[in-house]
Amino acid sequence: VEFFFQDKSTQAKAGDSIAAALYRSGRRIFSRSFKYHRPRGLLCVSGNCPNCMMNVDGVPNVRTCITPVREGIQVKSQNAFPSLETDFLSATQHFDRLMPVGWYYKTFTHPALWHAAEPIIRKAAGLGDVPTNKPAAYEHSWMYPDTAVIGGGWAGIHAALEAAERGDQVVIIDDQQALGGQLRYRKGAGELPANAISKLQNTRNVKILQGSSCFGIYEGNLIGVLQPGPNPQAAERLIHVRARRTVIATGAYETPILFQNNDLPGVMLSTGVQRLLRLYGVIPGRRAVVVGTSSLAEEVSADLRAAGVEVVANIDPAEIIAATGKGKVGGVRASTGKFSCDLIVVCGPRVPNAGLAAQAGGRLEWNNEGAAFLPVGLPPNIAAVGDAAGEIPPNSVSPLSTDKRAFVCLCSDVSCKDLCDGIAEGFDQIETLKRYTTATMGPCQGRMCQLPAIQVCAHETGRSASETGVTTSRPPNPSVSLGALAGPRHHPVRRTPMHCAHEDHKCVWMDMGGWKRPRYYKGHDGVSESESVILEHRSVREGVGIIDVSTLGKIEIRGRNAGDLLDAVYTHRFSDLRVNRVRYALMCDEGGIVLDDGTISHLAEDRYFVTTTSGNLDFVHQSLQWHLVGTNKDVHICNVTAGYGSMNLAGPRSRDALRKLADCDLTSKEFPYMECREAKVGNVTAILLRIGFVGETGWEIHCPAESAEELWHSLLEAGKEFGIRPFGVEAQRLLRLEKRHVIVGVDTDALTNPYEAGLGWAVKLDKQDFVGKRLLSHAKESRERERLVGFILKESGVPPDGAAIVIDGKPAGRVTSSRYSPIQKAAIGLAWVRVSQAHEGASIQVRLDGKLAPASVTMQPFYDPEGLRLRQ
C-alpha cells in the first residue's frame, strides 16, 4: 500500500496503521506538544494518548496509531513549523519560567491584553486546523438490541456469547481492528479464543461493529457509537444504540509513570511495544531498557528478546531518574547507573477503562488492593466485566517526580511541578486543580493523566487517593466530529398542492418554516423581482390576483362546547359568534404577550374553522388540546392543514371571476365582509371566507387538497378576462403593509402586548377567564412604553428590517417591516417608537445606508384608511 506523508510517498503493509507504517519507515517524532512544542513519539499505540495525532486527508487530530492505512491518503503533521524534526517554537520550553501554571489567569488580567495576544497564541498553541474543504458526508442509523457489549476483548467475547446463547439480539462494539483485545498482542495473557470469535462471527443474532468506538452512554441506556467509513459515500456513521442491557467490557489501559523527560520519543508503554511487535511486525528499537519489575515487565522483555531486541537493563520504577537524549531517547539515568539505549519500555499502572461506567450512572471508588478506581453502583441493566471492572493485576504505586520536565498531562504540557504549584496556590481539590492546570482536559480525555494527577494531588495534600476522588468523566469519550453529530443534511420540504402550477408560472421559491412558497413570479419574460412585484401589486389593486395560502395552519373544531374552548384560549369572544361569521383571532400567552393570530369561522352550530400562522400551527394545536384534556368537554380538535389547499382571490374584479364558478350569491348584501359560507366552486366543495388581508374585496378559499390544483387552474381561467395574475409572498407583504396589517412574529416580538401593537380591540377583558387575562388587564392599566406605528419615508430608499429609529441623535425604536409602496410613491413601513412619538405626523428619523432619513409617523393605514374597498 502506498500513501503520502508530507507529500512524500511512503510504503505500508496491508493491515498497518498509519503510525505503524511511519514507524517502520524510520519516523520517531510524530507530533509537537501543545504548549512547549516538545517532540513526541509513539507512546500507547492504542489511541489513548495524544502523541500520534495528525491531519489525514484534511481531517485534523486523527489518531494515526489506530487508523488503518488506505491507499493514497495524504497524511500531514500538525502544530509544527517548519517540520516535526525542527520546530522553531520548541524554543518556548526554555521560557517556561515565564509561563507558570495558571499563566492565562495571571497574565491576561485585562481584555485589551488578551485581544493583543490572542492571535499569536492561537497560532502558536494548539491542535490541528479546522478543515475548510468540502464537508464530508455523514450518516445516522439506529439499533435496538437486547444486549449491547462494549469492548471486544476476552470479557466482551464471553459476555456476548452468553447473551447470544440466551437468544438475545447482540451488538458488539469494538474499537480495534479485530476481536480479541489484549490477547491479540500479549502472549502472556493467553491464547486468542479463535473458536469463540468464529462462533460470534457466524451467529445470526450477533452484530459486530468492528473499528467503531462508543463515545458515551446517555439517558435511557442510549449508547453513542461512531463507525468510520461505513461505506464509500460516508466518512462516518453515528449509530444510536438503545439496548435493554449493556455490558461494559472496555478493558484496561496502561498509563505512563513520572520521571524527567518521560515524554521523549522512544519512551513507550509496554503494551505499545507489544502492539507494534505483534500487530504490525515492527521492531521498536535495538537496545531497550525495561522499567518495571512485575510479571508484565518480564513478559515484555521476553517479547523484545524474541524479536531480536537487546534488553540492556530491567530497572525498578523507583530507580529511574531521567530519560536522556536530544529529540529522542539516547539513554537512561537511574539511581543504579547510566544505560545507553534507544528505547525505554515503561510498564505503567493498568487503569480500568471505566469512564463509560461512570457516565452510565455508576461511581468510581478507590480500591486499595488494585490501586485503581473501580466502578460501583451501576444501574441494574448495566454491568461492567473483566478488566474494566477491576480484574487486573494489582498495580504498584508509581513513584512521584516533581521535576518540571516530568509530564503528567501530555495533551497540554502540564508537569508534576505545575500541579504542585497549583496546589500550593490553593487549588487543592482535584476538580479545581483540573480546571486551573487543565490536566486531564486535553484530547486524551484524562486517560493518560488522570491517575498520575490524582496521585500527585493526594501526595501533596497528604490525603489518600480515595479522599482525593476522581475527576468527572463526560461524553464524548473519545472525541467525535461535529459533522457526525449533525448527521446527514436532509432538508425535508413541504410542498403545497399547487406546487407544480407555481413552477409552470416560473415562480422564484422561498423557504418558509419548512414550506416552499413562491416569492414572486418572474414569468416567461423573466422579469426582475421589483418589476414583478409592481405588476402583481397592480393586478390586486386594479384587477384580480390569486395567491397560494395553503401554508396557513388549519384546525377544525367540533362539538357543543367548541365555542367555550375558543373563549378560553383566544382573547376575543367566540361563543357569541353567529353562524356564517368570521372573526379575527388573537392568541396571547399567560404573560399577555402576542403569540399567534388568524381567523375563526363559525361554519355550523357545532363547527368552527380556525386558521393560524404557518409556523405556530403545532403550538396552537397543542395548547388547544391542553385546555381540553381531562375536562370532559364535548369538543373534538382536528389538524386539517394538510387536508386543505388554500388560496386567496383578491381584487376589485375578484367577484366577477369567482361568480363564474361559485354556486352562492357573492354580493355584499348576501355575502358581506367577515362572513363565511360552504359552497361549490366549479366541481369542488370549498369553504369561502370573505376576509381581506391585502385590503381588497376577496375570498380565502379552502378546498380539499386533492382538488386544489384543479381549482387554482379554474380560477386562473375564470379571471383571465379580468387580467388575473398569481402573486407571491413579496407582493402580499407589500399589500398588507399598505393596509398596516401586522404579521405576528415579524412586527411583534417576545415582549409585544396587544395594546402596544394596536390590537387591543381584539381583547375582551369582560369575558370569563382566558389565557393571559390577568396580565392583559394589568397591561391595559399600565402606561405603554412603545407603540407600533406606520411611517412614510420622505426620501428615496427603503430601510432594511431592523433599521434604527433615531430621535434627537439617540436610538428610539426600530423598523420591523418596510417596502416601497407604489400607492404612496415612497417607502412605507411599520416601526416601534416611544409613545411620545406615536401620534399622527410626528417626525422621526430612520437610519438608512449610514445616514439618517426623515420620516413621518402615521396611525392610519397607508391605503384605503376607511376600509371601504374590502367591503365593496
Partner: protein, 49 residues
C-alpha cells in the same frame, strides 16, 4: 406576577405535563423525581382525582 414568572422548581417528586410531540399527539401527566429522573407514574389527565 408570582403566578406568571415564578416556578416551584422542586428538586424531588413533582407532577408534570408531557406532550407526545412526534408521536400520538397526546398530553399525559407524569409523576417524576427531578433529581433521579425516575418516572414513578404516568396517566392521562383526568384519570386520577
Amino acid at each position: 406576577m408570582d403566578y406568571r414568572f415564578n416556578r416551584a422548581n422542586i428538586a424531588g417528586v413533582q407532577t408534570e405535563w408531557w406532550f407526545h410531540r412526534s408521536g400520538c399527539g397526546q398530553w399525559i401527566q407524569a409523576v417524576r423525581n427531578t433529581v433521579s429522573n425516575e418516572v414513578l407514574e404516568s396517566f392521562f389527565p383526568g384519570e386520577r382525582a
